[in-house]
Amino acid sequence: MSPPETLVDKLDSPWLGVVLGVAAVLGMLTVNVLFLVWLERKVSAWIQRRMGPTEVGPFGLFQTLADMLKLLSKQLITPRHVDKPLYHLAPLVVFVPVVAAASLFPFSAGLVLQDLDIGLVLVFAFGGLAFVGIFMAGWGSNNKYALLGAMRSVAQNISYEIPLILASLSVVLMSGTMNLAKITALQSERGYWFIVLQPVAAVIYFIAALAETNRAPFDIPEAESELVAGFHTEYSGMRFALFFFAEYSNVFIVSMVATVLFLGGWSGPLLPGPVWFFLKVYALVGLTMWVRWTFPRLRFDQLMSFCWVVLTPLAILNLLITAFVARLV
């Protein structure tokens, strides 16, 4: 089978392709993030027997749009005591890797902006970069709550990155490739999803992904009751919105990775590829929201010991067993 033609190949100029592709990815992310914020408010309201947003548009659907316009028009306040270069750069450093990572996913057969044989590693590399921005924000804000939040966030991110990557590697061992499009195609060819053979890895991935995206019950970096808002305490207006955007995009991206690795990506009967892809992604996003509004927040030492004592050894064991089985079969 020849590699499917990518979107960029179809255009005459590679540069035009890249620019258009990035614009498309940005657009997709923006629409989805706006929808996600609304969805989160609705889901939380539903779980807590409230109404959620109802005023702007049908079912309050345009509430986030109005909120975004409000944030855009707000004054950007720069506190006097901040470390200016770090403070100003931080939102961008958090934001850019997210967009870069989002441009790597196959939304359907052949519908992929950058088809790389190291796609999976690249997604994790961009994910690991977020720490730099969070750290810059926490340090640059020169505020004890922001710094504590950033330190927690960074410690949590590097710890949970290990089970996250180990769980993903189990799938890589089974499929023999790190190309996101090929992993999907393989599941489509074989007719089953990898979650069937790797249920443990899928669960480990999901838990670690919750921690990576700082979602409850692992939202310790921005625990409101202790840290005001964590690393973005000192940010206002559009800078705050960029952090928010990156956070929700990250939720979306880890769900996309999980969809590709464990749920067969765009493969599915009857409906076209992108529909299946986004259906699966939204099912996972819904699950993370359900978890967030149902479980209480963990304590920091519980969080750390859970990662190092339970998740990481389990992930290593799973990887070892996978390696042996993959060798035997």
């Binding site: 044989d117 190291i118 590693v121 590399a125 690991g128 970069l129 720490f131 730099v132 330190m151 990155e161």
Partner: protein
């Protein structure tokens, strides 16, 4: 000068400038700026890897160095919590002067050597799959398996040693 060459010079310049700034001000004045500038330098470096068709190396460079190793650096910086006083005043010592002279001498010598020597390496087409995951895995786990595993053991020993040393003072 082709497009690739322009890219090379831009990236190389980026590496040199940012790594110099790690030790010179602002990096020299503020360790945290130094650490962050080092990340930028790693980025330019991974760009150079991409130009050499070693794209897996480029990604690993970002994942391992800009991601994981830098976390370590920043945590050490934060835990040390250096004040301006502890960093010391800017002094012009003899050692620093000697260092500058040595660096300049080395640079001049290298430039002279490169100027006089002409490398005659015939251009060869790249082997198939060069720079991909398979090629790197094959090199690491096939050709250099023993050194690779020994490095792993060495790192493990270092980690255990650090824990033992740290626990002694607790």
């Amino acid at each position: 000068m082709g497009f690739e060459q322009i890219l090379f010079w831009l990236l190389a310049l980026g590496v040199i400038v940012t790594s110099a700034l790690v030790v010179l001000p602002p990096g020299g004045k503020n360790p945290l700026y130094g650490a962050l500038l080092l990340i930028v330098s790693f980025f330019f470096m991974s760009g150079l890897y991409v130009l050499l068709f070693a794209h897996t190396m480029a990604v690993l460079q970002i994942l391992v160095y800009a991601g994981a190793i830098m976390v370590l650096f920043t945590f050490v910086i934060m835990l040390l919590n250096l004040s301006k006083k502890e960093l010391g005043d800017e002094t012009r010592t003899i050692a620093k002067g000697v260092g500058v002279v040595a660096v300049v001498a080395l640079a001049v010598k290298t430039a002279l050597v490169i100027e006089t020597q002409t490398l005659n390496i015939p251009a060869k087409p790249l082997p198939a799959g060069f720079g991909g995951v398979d090629a790197i895995a094959d090199t690491l786990f096939h050709n250099y398996l023993v050194p690779f595993e020994l490095t792993g053991v060495l790192l493990l020993v270092a980690v255990i040693g650090a824990v033992v040393l740290a626990k002694r003072t607790l």
